[in-house]
């Protein structure tokens, strides 16, 4: 389709080396009918000199027959491929374009605009890192614009660019552009899109597309292509948890059993401890097998490589299972219940009680729609209660799978957090879904998710007043936090002694102590530290329900994690002291007393 950027006489090997190392950006383009999306892409390809001569010739002929530009070159026809849509003058399906500049390689998912094809936009979005939303400068932000931004945000796209097109038809008006820009950016910020930006362009004249605009001197920002070449793409982070859904088991002979799959997140090395999910069976990676004719065994591998893993022991593992890293907060959730945001994609509506097939990773399992939680009103982002969803609706549902499945929240891991629902009779792909959370009572449930409250605590037979009378204390928590080796543990036990001497009843929960037992399975990554504090806070909550003063000593470096603990335990019952404030015992006791959390003991 397009021409690369090689010039005659250039060193070929050097060029190939650079070409191979080009960062790949997958871009989604979406817009209403007639917003000029196809023209914009045609313009990008044409102005970067990337249309082959024979294609250009065909384009000239097509422009005379189907063109909408009075016989002039109609760039939209570069990309409007199917005969049906050329006749109707609309784009009806996601089309994929490939082009390379000196800075980047691009794959463009060109998505249709009208409402009945919104499902195609979700399809495109699932493959992309950046979305360009076309806005006609004359009509401004429409319901479709909001729908596109909403879907992009739901599917985890962090960069959204509004290309405000047809600026030539509004006299290149800055006022008009700024109006649209502010409305668009406000909407994106409500969606939590981190990087949103608006650019004025005219696809028809090429203004602001490949080169910076001259007719809009009031605009100092980049041209669209410039932005696409420069936008920052975070690489995979070392903290991504390892996940490999098993596609198939290779057993060429009795001595070899390898699990084949594509790594969807993180990395893995020979010797790593792994779990086979959902059963949770432990094993170690014995080999990352690859025959010599294909380069020989690997020592380590990372997403998105396709590999063959051999384990150090005989374990039950087959297609549908996930080989995952071993450890604490990065464990996958396991359960039958899933709460997910869906984009509904077929004519037949979704109703509660309905049974579908649910694909998570490589596992396909029958699932029932337990309930509709809400439907999203795209214009206002309001949640409305609803009994059903129809084609192109977006909403949240709770599903119950027939068998336990292993999964992650979508925002943690796309590869194991995305689902597809399939109609059992027609085999149609009925919905795309992004998992939010599972059932809170299931193993691995995490306190970052606002899970459903389904469990109530049992009530003790000893009243708070009776405890107060015996111990002269209100249940409360003192958290001593700060870097390692700042005397937290010593201070905790000194405080316990002081309270004991005053006749109170205190319990110490020490970070190291937790790790020797209750949190033995955790490591020292941020997620694991968070999980360790969560467990401690939950233990503290149980102890406080039974009237105790709980003294906690933890590194607890993250503000938001401490704040969650404070929220769980009750802000008025918490006293947090950082190492830099000094752990002065008498001072802490005085503070507890002044807040009425401990009193003078009246009876021996």
């Amino acid at each position: 389709m397009t021409l690369p950027t090689f010039t005659a006489g250039e060193d070929l090997r050097g060029w190939i080396e650079r070409y191979e190392r080009l960062q790949l950006l997958r871009v989604l383009t979406c817009g209403n009918v007639d917003d000029g999306k196809s023209t914009l892409i045609g313009r990008l390809l044409h102005d970067t000199g990337r249309i082959y001569d024979d294609h250009l010739k065909a384009l000239e002929a097509d422009s005379r027959v189907h063109g909408t530009t009075g016989g002039g070159l109609d760039l939209a026809l570069v990309v409007d491929g199917l005969k049906a849509e050329r006749e109707q003058g609309i784009t009806i399906d996601v089309a994929w374009r490939y082009f390379t500049t000196a800075r980047r390689a691009f794959i463009i998912a060109d998505c249709p605009g009208h409402e009945q094809y919104t499902r195609n936009m979700a399809t495109g979005a699932s493959h992309c890192q950046l979305a360009i939303s076309l806005i006609d400068a004359r009509s401004g932000v429409t319901t479709q614009t909001r729908r596109h931004a909403t879907i992009a945000a739901m599917l985890g796209i962090r960069h959204v660019v509004a290309a405000v097109n047809k600026m030539d038809l509004v006299d290149w008006s800055e006022t008009r552009f700024r109006e649209i820009e502010s409305e668009f950016l406000a909407f994106c910020s409500r969606l939590g899109i981190e990087h949103a930006v608006a650019l004025p362009v005219s696809a028809l004249t090429g203004e602001g597309v490949v080169r910076r605009t001259e007719v809009m001197p009031w605009f100092s920002g980049p041209a669209l292509l410039e932005l696409l070449e420069r936008v920052d793409l975070p690489g995979p982070s070392g903290a991504d948890p390892f996940r490999m859904p098993v596609q198939t088991v290779l057993r060429p002979n009795l001595d070899f059993r390898g699990f084949a799959g594509q790594i969807t997140s993180g990395d893995v090395a020979v010797g790593d401890r792994v779990r086979i999910m959902p059963r949770g069976t432990e094993a170690r990676v014995a080999r990352l097998a690859r025959p010599d004719e294909f380069g020989g065994d690997l020592e380590r591998a990372q997403a998105p490589e396709s590999v063959v893993i051999c384990l150090d022991r005989e374990v039950d593992c087959s297609r549908g299972d996930v080989i995952a890293c071993f450890g604490g907060a990065s464990d996958m959730r396991v359960g039958r219940r899933i709460v997910a945001d869906l984009v509904w994609m077929v004519d037949a509506p979704l109703v509660a009680g309905q049974s579908l097939l649910c694909r998570v990773g490589t596992r396909i399992t029958p699932a029932r729609v337990v309930r509709m939680i809400h439907r999203l009103k795209v214009d206002t982002l309001a949640h409305e209660s609803a009994e059903s969803m129809v084609l192109n609706d977006i909403g949240r549902v709770e599903l119950e799978c027939e068998e336990p499945v292993a999964f992650d929240p979508y925002r943690v891991s796309r590869g194991t957090g995305a689902i597809v629902l399939i109609d059992r009779l027609t085999n149609a792909t009925a919905a795309a879904g992004m998992i939010r959370t599972g059932d809170p009572t299931e193993r691995g449930a995490h306190w970052d998710d606002q899970a459903l409250e389904t469990v109530s605590s049992p009530v003790s037979g000893v009243s708070a007043a009776e405890r107060d009378a015996r111990w002269a204390q209100r249940p409360c928590c003192v958290l001593l936090h700060g870097p390692p080796n700042t005397g937290k543990t010593e201070a905790a036990f000194a405080l316990e002694r002081a309270l004991w001497d005053l006749g109170h009843d205190a319990v110490v929960l020490d970070g190291q102590g937790m790790r020797s037992g209750l949190s033995k399975d955790l490591r020292f990554e941020p997620g694991d530290r968070s999980e360790n504090l969560r467990r401690a806070a939950e233990v503290a909550r149980l102890l406080m329900e039974q009237g105790r003063v709980v003294i906690m000593s933890f590194v607890a470096p993250q503000d938001h994690v401490r704040e969650r603990a404070r929220a769980l335990l009750g802000p008025d019952r918490c006293l947090f002291v950082h190492a830099s404030d000094g752990f002065e015992i008498s001072n802490i006791v005085a503070q507890l007393a002044s807040r009425g959390l401990i009193g003078r003991r009246t009876a021996p």
């Binding site: 990309v79 089309a95 195609n120 399939i422 149609a428 792909t429």
Partner: protein, 301 residues
């Protein structure tokens, strides 16, 4: 892009994932082998996907009987070298009717000897998934093709009835009689294919390299005279030219280009400097407007 992984590494990983999905989800998959550079890469990836195991499906070549002789020799040598379960299908009815590109033109020939022949072969083999080497960057209507492309019981493609394809969660479910075309190289470009062939030193048919070959000039194209079945029209004469082919098919329908690129590196360099697309030499694409789409609806690959 991930640390240390190149663009080609990513494409390879995706293709292997698709090939494994196909093997795991279908009863009787088959790999369509057309002998060209795309098929060469596809076959290599398929072997790699299941190594150290064997290829879990047969390899099918639909032979129109008008392929270059070098292609057929290369096909048989490749099958022997790699120990493939190679099946060759020829539309015997078409052969009996004497269908040829010379007497019936490219449209009828392609329809009978390729499209109908393919349907025959898929039906006879009861194949429920046919893996092909088509790429989305080849042609406009291919740009909208799915990776798992659904075909009804008559092997027909309905461009409006395609399933949405999200992430890599392919919906490979079909009812008995229905089937899937699977395109693991969807996201590769022509350049990616050549770079992969070059980096991995994959053997390709020599016709891709410039050699002195006997050709006639016909309707602006250079047609190689591969055997004595090509009748010369008035005024045509066979000349030796230094030519090569960007795509390979039936020899009377494949236009050669004049070139000095006699090594893979020179081919890549020449392609990088070319101003025309690879399908330009394919005479069958031009016989009517939107013609690839028409062929695909009928079941052409």
């Amino acid at each position: 892009m991930a640390r240390g992984l190149t663009h080609l590494d990513e494409l390879e990983a995706e293709s292997i994932h698709i090939l494994r999905e196909t093997a795991a989800s279908f009863e009787r998959p088959v790999l369509m082998y057309s002998i060209g550079k795309d098929s060469t890469v596809l076959l290599h990836l398929a072997l790699k996907a299941f190594a150290p195991g064997r290829l879990p499906f047969p390899v099918l070549h639909v032979d129109t009987t008008w392929k270059f002789r070098e292609m057929i020799a290369f096909r048989d040598a490749t099958a022997a070298r790699l120990g493939l379960d190679l099946q060759v299908h020829i539309n015997r009815d078409g052969l009996a009717q004497g269908i040829s590109p010379i007497t019936h033109g490219s449209k009828v020939h392609t329809d009978v000897m390729k499209t109908v022949a393919l349907r025959q072969a898929l039906t006879a083999g009861r194949f429920d998934a046919a893996i092909g080497g088509a790429r989305r960057d080849e042609e406009k209507s291919r740009a909208k093709e799915r990776i798992f492309s659904f075909r009804d019981a008559n092997h027909r493609w309905d461009p409006k009835g395609q399933r949405p394809e999200l992430w890599s969660l392919y919906n490979s479910r079909v009812h008995p009689g229905e089937s899937m075309r699977v395109f693991p190289l969807s996201n590769w470009t022509e350049l990616d294919v050549w770079l992969y062939v070059w980096k991995h030193r994959l053997p390709v048919v020599d016709l891709y390299l410039a050699r002195n070959r006997p050709v006639v000039e016909r309707d602006g194209a250079l047609i190689m005279v591969d055997d004595d079945r090509l009748p010369l029209k008035a005024g045509e004469r066979i000349v030796q030219r230094r030519v090569r082919f960007r795509t390979l098919g039936c020899y009377p329908l494949s236009g050669a280009i004049e070139s000095d690129a006699d090594t893979l590196e020179k081919v890549i360099e020449e392609m990088l400097l070319a101003r025309t697309s690879e399908r330009q030499g394919r005479l069958i694409d031009h016989d009517q407007s939107g013609s690839m789409e028409e062929k695909k609806r009928e079941g052409y690959f």
